[in-house]
């Protein structure tokens, strides 16, 4: 291939090829971030001992993790996972793939923005990897990069600067696909694809994209100002001994960061919720229970998401009036989440449940998200947040929701759409083993973190056993680490499945899951959408076609409209009409 042709194939504006680029990029960073997680777990199980196989990277300590290495490791783990693995896999890969197809559009609204977004992400990723090899090492101020710690006075070196630029790059990418998704859903839906007929995953991607457009610029503002503090001598966030002259205010950064950082949680989980909603309906062979309620609940969470952010700052000494306000708003957000969850459970009830691999992954997502959500309740109320704040309880809570739930949803989506993406179906048995083992081990690992946190273990401690009141947690942490290593090992099942399928897999059926959404049943560019995504088990369809599903754009021979699931408008819930 000539260089020119290579370049042209890399600069692709086809959303499905952009999706594949994001998929492989996301997996690369998932691997790096996952290995870093293993290192953290090793340190907590066997503090200060040489990590097997790491002597090449840390020759001075013979492979043992030192405090400076440790700070870099957990910082890079967080940044890589959130910005370079989970979000790109959900939006970049699955989003670019399914969103245009599912609404009956061949293209994104702005195809070149898709390509540009991917390359912004790739440049950011390259900077992240480059930071590992510069002098003084990569970033080490935590994924939140709180100043003044993240300023050169306390974290010198090129690594932290490179990482700050990398976050800006990935912010550009996230903003661009967010914008692209919003405009695509608003403008490019096929005729007849009303808002009330969108698959729930499109709702999830749409809401998530809205949040990207609204809140990623806030992150860019915080990161951009921090970058100026690092390289241009400004003092937006510097106070105390490091400040020369007037100085700035570190708390402003915290507010800006969490005004993005909390919606980011929902950016990650909304597409996952959408997938769960759809898959539970598909594989219960019945319409989603309370479709409008679910879409409305997701909208309510989206609307509230920015208004709860300051519960991250309950211990920052904020004014009581703010603390109370954010406590109420934070607790309030659990209400739509409950409505949504109960709708999923009601969809299963009296369905005809088929435990395929996407379904198992969706159920696993439900379970880990449920556990993660429940353990967040105590963090929403100020009084119970105080003892748990900054402990492993918080770490366990957000790893269950943002880590376990998002990843299981990524795998649910991948197992579901892989036949459409690559024309080959992944092996069902391997997929099921992978999903079930991952879910159990996710709960073991993050459950172990919850227990350690409830017992008081603070997060981010290089050696927690320096504290007498934490010394007894070594055994627990060691077992949690063992579960984490097993979790890492189980991912090899997925790799084997992937390699085997791509190398030697057989061609899959055109619609292996027998569902009616447009990515499986598109009748062509002139298709007119006639019904919602969950027209399953409709009596007249069964009578006339002899199957329990019908394409969203497929006319019934008799001409009758196969059941729009009956859903009278629900007063008081914002509109999915």
């Amino acid at each position: 291939m000539t260089p020119g042709a290579l370049l042209r194939s890399l600069w692709t504006t086809d959303p499905q090829r952009v999706a594949r680029q994001y998929l492989w990029g996301g997996f690369l960073f998932l691997l790096v971030g996952g290995l870093l997680a293993m290192v953290i777990r090793f340190q907590w199980g066997w503090p200060g001992q040489p990590v097997p196989g790491l002597a090449w990277a840390l020759p001075e300590s013979g492979g043992a993790i030192t405090p400076p290495t440790y700070t870099a490791v957990f910082t890079m783990h967080g940044l890589l996972m959130i910005f370079f693995a989970v979000t790109p896999l959900l939006f970049g890969a699955l989003g670019h793939f399914v969103l245009p197809l599912a609404i009956g559009s061949r293209q994104m609204a702005f195809p070149r923005l898709s390509a540009f977004g991917f390359w912004a992400y790739a440049v950011g990723g390259a900077l992240m990897l480059a930071s590992f090899v510069v002098r003084l090492g990569p970033a080490s101020a935590g994924w939140t990069s709180y100043p003044p710690l993240a300023t050169p006075a306390f974290t010198p070196g090129l690594g932290q600067t490179l990482v700050t630029v990398a976050v800006l790059c990935v912010g550009v990418s996230a903003f661009l696909y967010g914008l692209n998704f919003v405009v695509t859903v608003v403008r490019c839906r096929a005729p007849g694809m009303t808002w009330g007929r969108l698959p729930l995953v499109v709702w999830g991607l749409f809401y998530g994209a809205v949040l990207n457009v609204l809140f990623v610029p806030v992150l860019a503002a915080a990161t951009g100002l921090l970058l100026l503090d690092r390289v241009a001598g400004t003092q937006f966030f510097i106070a105390g001994a490091a400040a020369v002259g007037g100085g700035g205010d570190p708390v402003v950064y915290q507010h800006l960061f969490w005004l993005f950082g909390h919606p980011e949680v929902y950016i990650l989980i909304l597409p996952a919720w959408g997938m769960v909603g759809d898959f539970v309906a598909f594989f219960s062979r019945k319409p989603a229970h309370g479709y409008r309620l679910t879409a409305g609940a997701m909208g309510a969470v989206t609307a509230l998401s920015g208004a709860v952010y300051a519960h991250h700052l309950f211990t920052s000494g904020m004014a009581p009036v703010l603390g109370r306000t954010f406590m109420v708003l934070t607790l309030l957000i659990s209400l739509p989440a409950e409505v949504m969850f109960l709708n999923w459970l009601m969809t299963l009830w009296r369905g005809s449940v088929r435990l395929t691999s996407p379904m198992l992954a969706a159920l696993a997502t439900m379970i880990v998200f449920g556990l993660g959500g429940i353990t967040g309740l105590a963090l929403g109320a100020v009084a119970t947040d105080v003892p748990l704040h900054g402990t492993m309880w918080v770490v366990g809570h957000f790893h269950l929701t943002m880590g376990a739930a998002s990843f299981l949803a990524v795998f649910a989506g991948l197992y579901f759409w892989f036949p459409r993406m690559y024309g080959r179906a992944l092996d069902e048995r391997l997929a099921k083993v992978h999903v079930v083992a991952s879910a159990v081990l996710f709960i073991a690992v993050f459950g172990g973190q919850l227990v350690a946190g409830y017992a008081g273990q603070l997060r981010r401690l290089y050696d927690p056993y320096q504290y007498a009141f934490l010394a007894h947690l070594l055994t627990l942490n060691r077992w949690t680490s063992v579960a984490a290593f097993l979790l890492g090992a189980v991912q090899l099942v997925f790799v084997v499945n992937l390699v085997r399928t791509l190398g030697w897999g057989r061609a899959s059926e055109p619609n292996p899951w027998r569902v009616g959404t447009l990515e499986w049943t598109d009748a062509g560019p002139a298709a007119v959408v006639l019904r919602g995504p969950h027209a399953l088990s409709q009596p007249e369809v069964q009578q006339q076609l002899g199957r329990d599903w019908i394409g969203q754009a497929e006319p019934l021979p008799s001409g009758g409209l196969a059941a729009e699931p009956v859903a009278p408008p629900v007063p008081g819930v914002e509109g999915a009409g």
């Binding site: 700070t71 080490s140 003044p148 710690l149 974290t155 106070a239 105390g240 001994a241 490091a242 400040a243 205010d249 570190p250 219960s284 229970h289 309370g290 479709y291 309620l293 211990t315 920052s316 009581p320 603390g323 109370r324 406590m327 659990s334 969850f341 459970l345 009601m346 299963l348 009830w349 005809s352 449940v353 435990l355 379970i367 449920g370 353990t375 105590a378 929403g380 109320a381 100020v382 009084a383 119970t384 105080v386 003892p387 704040h389 900054g390 227990v451 409830y454 008081g456 981010r460 401690l461 290089y462 320096q466 007498a468 009141f469 007894h472 070594l474 627990l476 088990s537 409709q538 329990d548």
Partner: protein, 277 residues
């Protein structure tokens, strides 16, 4: 300049307050213990009770969720007859009602319990402000230690007998302790796990909190906000003494401080105005 502890009758027999020595302490509790750290605060039982209740909710909700899911999957796996609609008006009303009910009970309990604690304790700085016995401490967080300043016998900050300690907090038991918290360099998190106390130390800001020891003893102070390489070693000891022992210690430490007072050492003379709520 830590005061010599053998000149006082410290009630506790704990390890010396030295954050630089790794510990060789026998585990005090079982490895799988679900209990929070030992409570030494006079008000901590209120938080603990609320936390335990929220823990109970966690278990109950998780059991219902998992149970419902499991029963649904097992009972309806491959079932023949399927409802062809997205629920009836009634079933959707049930969902809304159930969600509202759970929300009302679970979130309502947490809100009311939390609100009561905030009103009476956490944000009620009138308690230490109005109690004549209250002891005031100014804590300045550094990478990586806790510098504490006591007003000395004259009860006024900024005088010759100000006592300064490092990683060594001394308080009388049974008396409100009012803490004014600042940081010199980066953001730190001041926490006394045994007292359910947690508050950020932020450069350029003065934060306040208060607590009261229920009994004499020694407990650890920890930093919970990542503050750099040796964050994990930012460990201090808090010793709660009998009021008499505390007074004796403060008198002796203040006398020594006054002897070594250097008027030209301006760096040592930090302090922030106490603003009462």
């Amino acid at each position: 300049m830590p005061a010599s502890s053998d000149s006082t009758a410290v009630a506790s027999t704990s390890a010396p307050p030295d954050a630089q020595t790794p510990l060789a302490v026998e585990p005090s509790r079982g490895a799988w213990s679900l209990s929070p750290p030992e409570n030494a605060s006079a008000t901590g039982d209120r938080i603990d009770a609320l936390l335990a209740r929220s823990h109970g909710f966690d278990f109950a909700l998780a059991a219902v969720m998992l149970g419902w899911l499991l029963v649904a999957v097992l009972r309806f796996r491959g079932a023949r007859k399927v409802a062809p609609d997205g629920g009836t008006r009634r079933s959707r009303a049930w969902v809304l009602g159930l969600a509202l009910g759970v929300f009302g009970v679970v979130d309502g309990t947490l809100f009311l319990g939390s609100e009561g604690y905030l009103r009476d304790v956490l944000w009620n700085l009138r308690v230490p402000a109005e109690d004549p016995r209250t002891v005031r401490i100014e804590i300045n967080a550094h990478q990586w230690s806790w510098e504490a300043r006591y007003a000395g016998a004259d009860g006024t900050f900024g005088t010759k007998d100000d006592v300064v300690t490092w990683n060594d907090l001394r308080i009388p038991a049974g008396v409100p302790v009012w803490v004014q918290l600042v940081s010199t360099d980066v953001v730190h998190g001041f926490s006394l796990p045994a007292f359910r106390v947690k508050l950020d130390a932020i450069p350029g800001r003065v934060n306040q909190t208060w607590f009261q020891a229920a009994r004499e003893g020694a407990w650890e102070a920890a930093c919970y906000q990542h503050c750099g390489t040796s964050h994990y070693r930012m460990r201090g000891m808090l010793t709660a003494m009998s009021p008499e022992a505390y007074a004796a210690w403060l008198r002796e430490a203040g006398r020594q401080a006054a002897q070594t007072y250097d008027a030209d050492d301006t760096a040592a003379h930090w302090g922030w105005a106490w603003r009462t709520p």
